[in-house]
């Protein structure tokens, strides 16, 4: 995967994860144009499009568009499943997730994404394992008494 964008029906960006190195300006421009293109598509059209030299897969969940740009050799249909899995993870974590959850807890959305995908590929195919890892990391965070001590790494 090259990048993933989440945006609202009005075109406001809610999350952007880039797996390719691009300049800030370029990212903004690309993002803006792609968002406009997708928002311009009718409801009955298929979820895949060729845009510039990219394969783009997108799906709308309620008021949020989930959009991924994938590699030439990637399977479009399974990418739809990847998107769906991410939505399921968010749903489980936030309890019936809605756009507001992602707006106000964007950093958590990123954390969840980073436990599911790494470098654009799925690192864990078990929903349970991803959620467990997030939960434990959250615990670490909340435990303010837990101070990191400089131990030498276990060999």
């Amino acid at each position: 995967m090259r990048f993933m964008l989440l945006f609202s029906r009005q075109g406001k960006l809610r999350l952007q994860k880039w797996y390719v190195p691009l300049g800030d300006q370029e990212k903004r421009r690309l993002g803006r144009e792609l968002v406009q293109t997708i928002l311009g598509r009718k409801a009955k059209m298929c979820s895949f499009l060729e845009w510039r030299d990219l394969k783009v897969v997108y799906k709308r969940y309620a008021s949020l568009y989930f959009c991924c740009a994938i590699e030439e050799q990637d399977n479009e249909l399974i990418t739809l499943e990847v998107i769906h899995r991410y939505v399921e993870l968010l749903d489980k974590y936030f309890g019936s997730v809605c756009e507001l959850d992602i707006i106000f807890n964007f950093e958590k959305a990123y954390f969840i994404l980073d436990e599911f995908l790494l470098g654009g590929e799925a690192q864990e195919t078990s929903k349970k394992s991803v959620l467990k890892a997030i939960e434990q990391a959250d615990q670490l965070q909340e435990n303010i008494d837990f101070q990191m001590r400089l131990f030498p790494a276990p060999s």
């Binding site: 999350l15 797996y19 691009l22 399977n75 990847v82 690192q123 195919t125």
Partner: protein, 829 residues
């Protein structure tokens, strides 16, 4: 200083802004607060501030002043700090930033941290956006973690290794030992990421590929277990066990089996099993089937399996889900070359997809339809494609029109059908047709000799209806210029001939000249067409008037043409018929595009004509020397550049030579070669460009003519042209003239050539050579010279002169080879 506001608070505040300006104001205020907080080196609230900064960055505001703060957060001991710090790094510190490398040490330390979640953060950051230098520095750490027994870390290390390999391919080798036991893992996360890693390595290195081929049985086993094993709640998706892993394994199998018979053999069964057993009611199952089909088509699978795959795609085409249909069309497009017949079976479904509402599907269906057109289905397919052309989006029209032309050219069942198809495209989508179609179409029309009358009639009628579509107008005016005589004489066989007068035709063409719908190019076409009609119509005065008017046109191109045509009426009127003669059959140029346009250069034309005046051909005494001079000697010398004269001047000169020989009185003479097959002009027509030049009509002899025989008042001259597309054929036209005061009757010309050549003698124009140069006898000889040798010809002449029979033998020789070279003109020695 009061504590900085919390993140959620800020978000809430910003969302209350009603205008962009209000939002900007809030943001600027907060940024100022954050900046001063950073300056104070406040550790407690750094995390909160950076988080707020990241939010504002997402809204589109600059956040670069937070970069160093992210580094400080990463270096902190608190997990909360690290979490936000690494997030900030991934958002703000990509490899293009100067401070990017400063992360390296922190990441290195965190890769060795005691807490796996910290290690995970470091691996994630490195694997998402580490630069090549960073990857080089830290590859060792990643490799170490790839061997750990902690599956949480192992899976992340595998994907991190993928990133390292992508950034620094040379480091691939170092990960090889660690891959040893990757597939024996039970953990699906590790399995999945390992397969991704193996895939990456195999794609990049053929050595790795051969090394990993031995894993095929293991992969097959894993896949089998996934399919056969019962319900596993942890990895289940709609009844299918870990579809992500299945798809990745199928993809790796594809790469491993690609050019290897044994591996392909080993995976045959499992592929068949997956293809038949996978549940297709949900997208998940179809995703797996799709990957399976791709694999089957790519490896060396047996034909039964391939047919199975294509049938799956055929079923996909009928699926209600348009995503599935799209994917099917894409795959079929990939396989149509190799498994053409199998795909043909689904042709009707594919054609139905042309009517789909979705743009992507329509495009795919169109491409696939063109790939499936063949001689058998051309009529039906073309009907569908033309219907599609009428109703499709403008973006498609150009591609569709080009595709229709190509298909029609390849498979047209009849010339009439072909012309009709072209007409249909031009009249319905004429403005979308590509520019280079116009010369191609003109060439096509010229070559369908028997359809000229029908074509010009239809085009004329189309012009009456609509003059806005430029390609249509251009083709039509060209045709009317060429075949206007057929139009007014009502010669059409194919359909009811229409009654058209010369004036009506000229009205239409003049209308094009003045209409503001016409582009300058189109105007050029119509002016030339009007000029051509001066030899085909009788209302020459009207044409003269039009031409002289445009001599002062503002458009330089039109002005130039008009001036030249005017000159043709005045000074060169004797040449006009020959110049404006009917266009002969053109050769198809090997390159499909138009070659360099032939430039008219009005000023050089007359002067060049003058310089060409001394005809180099009539030196009766030094005949043999002439031959050698003209034809470049009899040893391996340079081949005569007989290529396209890029200046019409020379071709004008040639013509003058030919005519000059016969009669210098300047009366209109019929072109000397009118008895034989029409003169073939050669390269000038290898690609008409849009600014069709009048002088393309001239028969440009590539090689200067030569006198082959001149004795006793009988002179035989050879003129050379290039014939058909075959460059080995020379077409020689002999012109026999008689300077004596008595006719030469029963004139017979015979020729013989060495065995390496082949000769074809066509019938002579007559067998009486009139006295006193009152006429010539012409005869065409076609010589095939496959070995491109020097031509030697023995001539035998017999005739009756003043009551006595005369017989003579002679020999002519020279190099007669054509090499296309548009840059050089004809060299006249």
């Amino acid at each position: 200083m009061p504590a900085p506001i919390r993140l959620r608070e800020l978000i809430r505040t910003i969302r209350t802004a009603r205008t962009q300006a209000e939002e900007r104001e809030m943001i600027q205020k907060e940024c100022a607060a954050i900046r001063s907080s950073f300056r104070e080196e406040d550790n407690t609230y750094r995390c909160r501030n950076v988080a707020k900064l990241l939010y504002m960055h997402m809204l589109g505001y600059p956040a670069h002043f937070g970069q160093l703060e992210c580094l400080k957060l990463i270096a902190s001991q608190k997990f909360t700090d690290k979490r936000i710090g690494y997030l900030g790094a991934m958002l703000l510190l990509d490899e293009r930033q100067d401070v990017h490398l400063l992360m390296t040490n922190c990441i290195k330390n965190d890769l060795n941290h005691s807490t796996q979640y910290v290690q995970g953060l470091a691996l994630c950051t490195l694997g998402c956006m580490g630069s090549s230098e960073m990857c080089r520095d830290l590859a060792g750490e990643v490799e170490k973690l790839l061997k750990t027994s902690n599956s949480y870390l192992r899976k992340k290390a595998a994907l991190c290794a993928v990133h390292v390999i992508r950034k620094v391919p040379e480091l691939m080798e170092m990960f090889l030992p660690a891959t040893k036991n990757l597939l024996s893992e039970k953990n699906h996360g590790v399995l999945h990421t390992s397969v991704v890693l193996l895939t990456e390595m195999c794609e990049r290195s053929p050595d790795m590929l051969s090394h990993f081929r031995k894993l095929v049985p293991q992969l097959v086993r894993i896949l089998k277990n996934l399919i056969m094993s019962g319900y596993s709640p942890e990895h289940d998706v709609s009844g299918i066990s870990d579809p992500f892993l299945q798809v990745r394994i199928l993809r790796l199998l594809r790469i491993l089996g690609r050019s290897d018979d044994d591996s392909s053999e080993a995976m045959n069964d499992i592929l068949a099993q997956v293809a038949t057993n996978t549940e297709t009611s949900k997208n998940v199952g179809n995703a797996i089937l799709y990957e399976t089909v791709l694999t089957i088509m790519d490896i060396k699978s047996e034909s039964g399996l391939r047919v199975l795959a294509i049938n799956i795609l055929g079923r996909f085409l009928l699926n209600n889900d348009k995503n599935i249909r799209y994917v099917a069309l894409t795959s079929l497009l990939k396989t149509v070359q190799t498994d053409h017949n199998a795909v043909q079976r689904h042709r009707s479904t594919i054609v139905d997809c042309l009517k789909d509402l979705d743009v992507s599907i329509k495009r795919r269906a169109m491409e696939l339809s063109f790939a499936l057109v063949n001689g058998n289905n051309i009529r039906g397919m073309m009907k569908e494609l033309l219907y599609f052309l009428d109703s499709c989006d403008p973006d498609f029209k150009a591609d569709c029109a080009s595709g229709v032309f190509l298909a029609a050219e390849k498979y047209a069942p009849s010339k009439r059908w072909h012309i009709d198809t072209i007409m249909r495209v031009l009249t319905t989508s004429g403005s979308y047709v590509r520019d280079d179609s116009v010369p191609n179409l003109i060439q096509l029309i010229t070559n369908s000799v028997e359809m000229h009358a029908y074509t010009v009639q239809r085009l004329y009628k189309a012009l009456l209806d609509d003059i806005s579509q430029q390609p249509l107008v251009q083709v039509s005016s060209w045709c009317i210029g060429e075949y206007g005589d057929l139009l007014v004489s009502g010669q059409c066989e194919e359909e009811e001939p229409i009654q058209v007068t010369e004036d009506e035709v000229l009205d239409v063409l003049e209308g094009l000249l003045v209409s503001n719908l016409s582009t300058p190019v189109t105007r050029g076409y119509s002016l030339t067409a009007i000029m051509k009609l001066s030899t085909r119509f009788s209302s020459v005065n009207r044409i003269k008037k039009v031409v002289s008017i445009y001599g002062s046109s503002i458009d330089v191109e039109l002005q130039q043409r008009a001036v030249e045509y005017n000159a043709m009426f005045k000074k060169y009127d004797h040449m006009r018929p020959a110049l404006l003669e009917r266009m002969p059959i053109m050769e198809k140029s090997s390159s499909n595009g138009p070659t360099e346009m032939v430039q008219t250069n009005g000023e050089t034309e007359p002067s060049a004509l003058e310089s060409k005046h001394p005809p180099p051909v009539t030196q009766p005494t030094n005949q043999a020397n002439d031959l050698l001079d003209l034809l470049g000697g009899n040893d391996v010398g340079p081949v005569i550049q007989t290529s396209m004269p890029t200046k019409q001047a020379s071709s004008g000169g040639e013509l003058l030579d030919l005519l000059g020989d016969l009669s210098l009185t300047g009366g209109p003479t019929s072109a000397p070669v009118s008895t034989g097959p029409p003169p073939l002009p050669g390269f000038l027509l290898d690609g008409l460009s849009s600014s069709q030049n009048l002088f393309n009509d001239i028969s440009a002899a590539g090689i200067p003519s030569m006198t082959a025989y001149n004795k006793n008042g009988l002179k035989i001259e050879f003129t050379f042209e290039r014939a058909t597309p075959n460059p080995n054929i020379a077409v020689i036209t002999i012109h026999a003239s008689n300077t004596t005061d008595a006719d030469m009757t029963e004139f017979v010309f015979q020729a013989a050539v060495p065995k390496t050549f082949q000769l074809q003698l066509l019938s002579p124009s007559s067998n009486v050579v009139p006295a006193m140069n009152q006429g010539t006898v012409t005869q065409v000889i076609r010589v095939l010279n496959p070995q491109k040798q020097q031509l030697r010809m023995r001539i035998k002449l017999t005739y009756s002169h003043k009551g006595s029979a005369v017989q003579d033998l002679a020999e002519a020789s020279g190099r007669v080879v054509w090499e296309p070279d548009p840059e050089h003109g004809v060299e006249t020695p």
